[in-house]
Each structure stands twice: as structure tokens, then as C-alpha cells.
Symmetry: C2
Subunit: 363 residues, 2 copies
DNA sequence: CAATTGAGTGAGTCCGGTCTCACTCTACCA
DNA sequence: TGGTAGAGTGAGACCGGACTCACTCAATTG
């Protein structure tokens, strides 16, 4: 069972047909399971196919049918557990419906995303699931739509793209709730740290950011603070904190301010790890020295001391919904609203307490 | 920029050729960049292609060239950060070399793996990277090899497959080191918990398990214990602990034994989370009540109290090596040994201490 | 019993590219 | 200046399937 068999030209329907002594068209019908074939012939073809070790050529098939039975997924960073989990939701759903999944990782780089989109169009995927890296630069996405292939946006929506399906989480509402929770405990100096780059200009209230989910979080947090009458609410916003050293630097800078924040909200679990690591380096304790809330809920959040108050998002479900929606589109079944917004929940644990300075005394 | 453009038949080389007033072959040469074309023609074709919005059909191209520029990756569980990170190593490397990556998730189910292999063969991927679910049931893998497509095994090797490339970690050595470390601290009752199912028979020393990496870990641990003269060293091995409740049940069962283990080694980070969660439920403290070591090193391991002693594997590098090796094979450049074994390192932190019962007193 | 139906089959076209081959035309060389 | 090399081009075969169409032949029907 070694080398000799290898490198031989692929076995084709023609080969099978010859072996089974039927016409190529008949063998193709039998193998492809699409026409009318007698039992007798079916068996002969089956036997011949097995004897020869026939494997259908999916490329040739797709070229004729115009369908590849494949979904293209483009995400920013599969290493981020958020996308890992969403991806499982997508693949589980796709597999159940008989679709394969192609994945491309962009590192949140727009040009990589554009590249991936082109490649997937060339591969003639049946549909796209994309977590777009940019809110505004979406020509490649509109190209996809023009090519007639369904597109579902995951976790983020974009500007200037009509009628596109979006599966996302109500970030603004839950961010508002998180900030409100902190405010209720007496916090006014609330920081928010995200990996997202800001671009050239400093942030101004109301700015649209590059990623809608982050934008929504910022809006929710600022809205809660403004309602509570907090001045200069955006002064503790920090952008461009890439995982690893970037996060640590930002954390250090924040905590060494004359008026450091009394609470920090981390935009994802990767950032949270960096922040917590650096706080410990600085000898600061959560929640005594600073309260802490992170987006995403993974089991380690309950294992550390104190257990983290988190914003739990239905990540797997978002993946499932995106794939379900896309497949419905592909198969021409249009169902429900184009935009589905899943709720997220603030999960109270032990990382939030009243700020030290003010020293209110409630439970 | 909306509906009207969509749904139209794809633009082909023939269309471009007509528009540029050249022969189809010439347009194809220009577009495909493979023959000799004059500058004049090249420009006319380029202009025509852009005017018409031409996108090459990768399927048709692959059918002719026999190459798809695509790598098929089959892993057990992308939700597991281990594979997420390895996957990034793979995609980064593949992208740099101009290859796309198709991913299939099997949930460690053999039939899903067989299915995925078939689909990828049908898609005519140029090569495979597989983390095989079974050590012995590898007919589908040998089919892949017979089809003439390179195959690189990731993280695990298998029986009965000659000349297959393998990129793995020296699990036996590092497991031995971990067990030795525990033994040096005075432990004799050392548990090992893995997700891997055992099959029907209870474990006997020397048994080959379904996954080589786990097998190697068990062998390393038992070897250290046996050398140290520990009797009945396999009595605390626990298999089939699926993430979530399974792990917790196993942990509880272990710790409620008359002679519970004094140290636990978790086979991956998902299991570790479950074990630690359950230990806390049980009111047990690490390392006072039980010492703890886990395979894999993620930042949260340093954030929890106590910081975990871990076995750090070069996961990203393993992914890179697998992709590099595969691409070399695809391109006919055979380099170095078929089996590459990466070292893993025991990282000492705070989750290992002498067992309570014995009460030795060293640092 | 002639007419109708449709299951079963084969011949051949098509999908959208690549590639081979023959041919033209210019440039260079002895 | 005749010969040749090679760049540039077009016609058409080909990759491996799906699909259209024409045809056969047995079963059904009025």
C-alpha cells in the first residue's frame, strides 16, 4: 500500500464508465445521483468505482453546477477565543446543512481582508460570513454583493451597504448597563481599553469608530456617564492596545495618571489578561484598587481571584445564526429581518466594588 | 451600485478577449500571466478586464493546472485555544507562501474526520494537515497519501503509515519531567486527566491510546513514577473527561477517594479550567490540598492564584513547521527529517508544593 | 391493438480556464 | 542576404464533471 499507486492520474467518470461498460453520461448520472438509472447499472457502476478508487472531482462538479457547497468565512483573529467559538457555531451549522467552510484570518488588516475576499470569489464560494475590519472601507464587500453571492456580517455592521444581513450583539445596551453598574457603585472615572486603532485624530464624542461593535460599546459607556452627569467622560478611553505589551503599557499609563481611573472595562478577553497582568505588576488589587469588567465570559474568569464580573455574549449562537442566515440566503429562503441583534448579559461576580477614594458604604 | 449589476453571468476570458479584440488564448495568457504577451495587448486586455469587472474562476483554473493553491486542515476542536494558535501559525505561513487554507472541525469524531478528508480530496486541495483522531484507524489518511497529496500530521503520529511527515512535541519527555518534578516534591499519588476516550477496556500499562500525544504523556508520567518505585502508578489515570461537566465529575470522584491524589496533571487548558473550578467547589486549595500542573500555557494561567505551573508547548511554531513542511512537499522540495519533534518546557510557578500528608519541609 | 407515456441510455455540448501547436513577423547572425 | 531564432498571436483540444437532447423499449391506456 505504498508509492506505486500514487501520482497516477485521477480516476474519472470516463474510466469508471469504461470499466462498467456503460456510457460516460450514464456513469455520471449514477455517480452523481441525479438522473434515472436502473438498479443493474447502478450496481455495476458502483462496483467499478470502488474497484478503481474513484473520487469525484469537486472542482469540475462546481464548475458545472455553479455551486461549490462552500462557505467562506473571514475573521480578524481566530486565536481570539471569541472567534474560535463563533467559528464552531458556524462550522457546526454548515456541516449539518451539508456545507464546507473555508476560513481566512486577516489579523484585522484591511488589505488582508480584501485579498481574502478576492480569493474566495475566485474559489466561487456560495456565500460569505465576514467580520469586517473597517466600518467605512467596504468596497470589497459591496463587490461581493454585486457578484450575487450572499453576505452575512458577523459581530459588526458597516456603513453604506444596503440590505446586507448582520448578526450582532446589542453592545451599546450592555455597555451602558455595565457602565451604569459601575456608576451605581460610585465610579466616575471609568476607563475602556480596546485593541481597535483610532486612526489619526483623537477621539471626539460621537465619532464613528472603525468597528461598529466597539463604537457601540463606547457610545453605551459614554451615554451612561453623561446621563449621570460625569464631565469629560471620554478622557479614559484608550485605543490601539494590541494584545501583549501594548495593553500593558496602556494600563500602566492609565494607572499612573494623577487621577487614575477607578474602574476599567476591557473590550475582550485578550485585553483583559493583559490588563490584569499589568495591574498585578503594579501591585494593584481588583477590586480594592480598581474595579474591573471584561467583555466575553470564559471559564478562567471564574477561576481567578476575584472572579470577574463580565459581559457574557452568546458567541456560539451568533455563529449559528450567521451560518443559518447565510444558508437560507444561498438556498433562496429569505427569512425574517436582515439584522439580528442578540442580547448580551452583565454577569455580576466579584471584580466590582465601590471606589476606594470616595468610600461609600453599601453592599 | 445596487441590484442591477448582480446575478449576471460571470465575466469570462472570452468576454474580455472580445472586448479587447484579441483571441481568447491571448487574453488568457495576459490575464493568467503565463505566456508571452506584448505590452500593447497586455494593456488593452487589462483595461477590458477592469471595464467588465473580470474575476478569474479559480475552479476552472485549478481543474487545468491540477493545483488549487489550497491547504486542507483538519483539527479536532478549534475552540480549544491550542488549535486556534496552531491554526494561526498555519494560516500565517500558508498566506506568506501564497496558499489558502480550508479548515474542517471534527469534534474529535473519526467519522467526521473521514468525511472531511473525502470532501477535501474532492476539492482537490494541494495538501493536508491533520491532527488525527485515531492512532490506528487511518485508512482515510492512507487514502490521502495514495492520492498523491502530501500529508503532514500535526501534534500526533499514527501507526501503520510509512513515510508520513509528523510535527509534534516531545510529550513523553516533558511529561516525565513534570511527574519527576512532582515526585521530587514528595508526591506519589499523581493523577492525569484527559478528554481522550479509552475505548472498552480499562487501561493497562503500555497500552497504545487513541491519540499518540496523550499516549506519550501517560508513558512519561508512568515511567517517572515507576523509576521512583511507585506502585500501582496508573490508578489515578482518568480518560474520557469531556470538557464541562465530565471533567468536574472526574475531579470530584478522584478527590473523594479514600486515598485521593496529591497532585493532578491536566492534559490541556480546557480540562484545567474544569478541574480548578471543581476543586474550588470542593473547597480544596491549590497547592495546599493538591498540586496542579497543566499542559499549555496561556496568560490566564499566570493570573489566577496561585499562578499555574505549566507545560509550555511551542504551539504556534508547530503550526508554522507543519505548514512549512507541507508546502515544501507540495512544491517538491523535500527537506530534512520526516518527523520533527519540538521540545516543550516545564514552567515552574506556584501550583506545586509538597503534599500535605507527608509534610516534608523544603522550599 | 394502436397510441401514449416515461424510465433508461448514449452522444455530444458546455462550464471557464490552461496548454499545445502551427503560424507570422521581426531581429540578428554568418 | 538568406537562414534562423524567438517573441507574439490565434485556433482548438482538453480538464472532469453536469446537462440537453434524441432515441429505445416496455408498460399503460382508451
Amino acid at each position: 500500500m505504498n508509492e506505486p499507486t500514487a501520482r497516477r492520474r485521477d480516476v474519472t467518470v470516463a474510466d469508471v464508465a469504461r470499466e462498467a461498460k456503460v456510457a460516460k453520461a450514464t456513469a455520471a448520472r449514477s455517480l452523481g445521483g441525479y438522473g434515472a438509472v436502473s438498479d443493474d447499472v447502478r450496481q455495476r457502476v458502483q462496483a467499478a468505482a470502488e474497484a478503481l478508487g474513484y473520487h469525484a472531482n469537486g472542482l469540475a462538479r462546481s464548475m458545472n453546477t455553479g455551486r461549490s457547497n462552500t462557505i467562506g468565512v473571514i475573521v480578524g483573529d481566530i486565536e481570539n477565543p471569541y472567534f474560535g467559538l463563533a467559528m464552531r457555531g458556524i462550522t457546526d451549522t454548515a456541516k449539518a446543512a451539508g456545507y464546507d467552510v473555508i476560513l481566512a484570518n486577516t489579523g484585522e488588516q484591511l488589505d488582508a481582508e480584501i485579498d481574502a475576499a478576492r480569493v474566495f470569489v475566485e474559489k466561487r464560494v456560495d456565500g460569505f460570513i465576514v467580520a469586517p475590519a473597517s466600518f467605512t472601507l467596504t468596497d470589497h464587500l459591496s463587490d461581493i454583493m454585486h457578484s450575487g453571492r450572499p453576505l452575512v456580517l458577523l459581530d459588526r455592521h458597516v456603513a453604506n451597504l444596503d440590505d446586507v444581513d448582520v448578526i450582532e450583539v446589542d453592545n451599546e445596551k450592555v455597555a451602558h448597563a455595565a457602565a451604569q453598574h459601575l456608576i451605581d457603585r460610585g465610579h466616575e472615572r471609568i476607563a475602556f481599553i480596546t485593541t481597535l486603532e483610532l486612526g489619526s485624530n483623537p477621539y471626539q464624542a460621537g465619532d464613528e469608530l472603525g468597528v461598529s461593535s466597539v463604537s457601540a460599546r463606547v457610545n453605551g459607556i459614554l451615554a451612561a456617564m453623561n446621563t449621570a452627569g460625569v464631565d469629560n467622560s471620554e478622557r479614559y478611553l484608550r485605543f490601539g492596545a494590541n494584545s501583549g505589551s501594548g495593553v500593558k503599557g496602556v494600563t500602566r499609563e492609565l494607572m499612573q495618571l494623577e487621577e487614575p481611573p477607578t474602574a476599567i472595562i476591557a473590550s475582550d478577553s485578550l485585553i483583559a489578561m493583559g490588563v490584569l497582568g499589568e495591574l498585578r505588576e503594579l501591585g494593584l488589587t481588583v477590586p480594592d484598587d480598581v474595579s474591573f469588567i471584561m467583555f466575553d465570559d470564559f471559564e478562567w474568569a471564574t477561576l481567578i481571584s476575584p472572579a470577574l464580573t463580565v459581559i457574557a455574549q452568546p458567541v456560539y449562537e451568533v455563529g449559528v445564526a450567521a451560518a443559518t442566515r447565510l444558508i437560507a440566503r444561498i438556498e433562496g429562503r429569505v427569512t425574517g429581518e436582515p439584522i439580528q441583534v442578540f442580547p448580551a448579559a452583565l454577569v455580576h461576580r466579584k471584580s466590582v466594588a465601590p471606589p476606594r477614594v470616595v468610600g461609600r458604604d453599601d453592599a
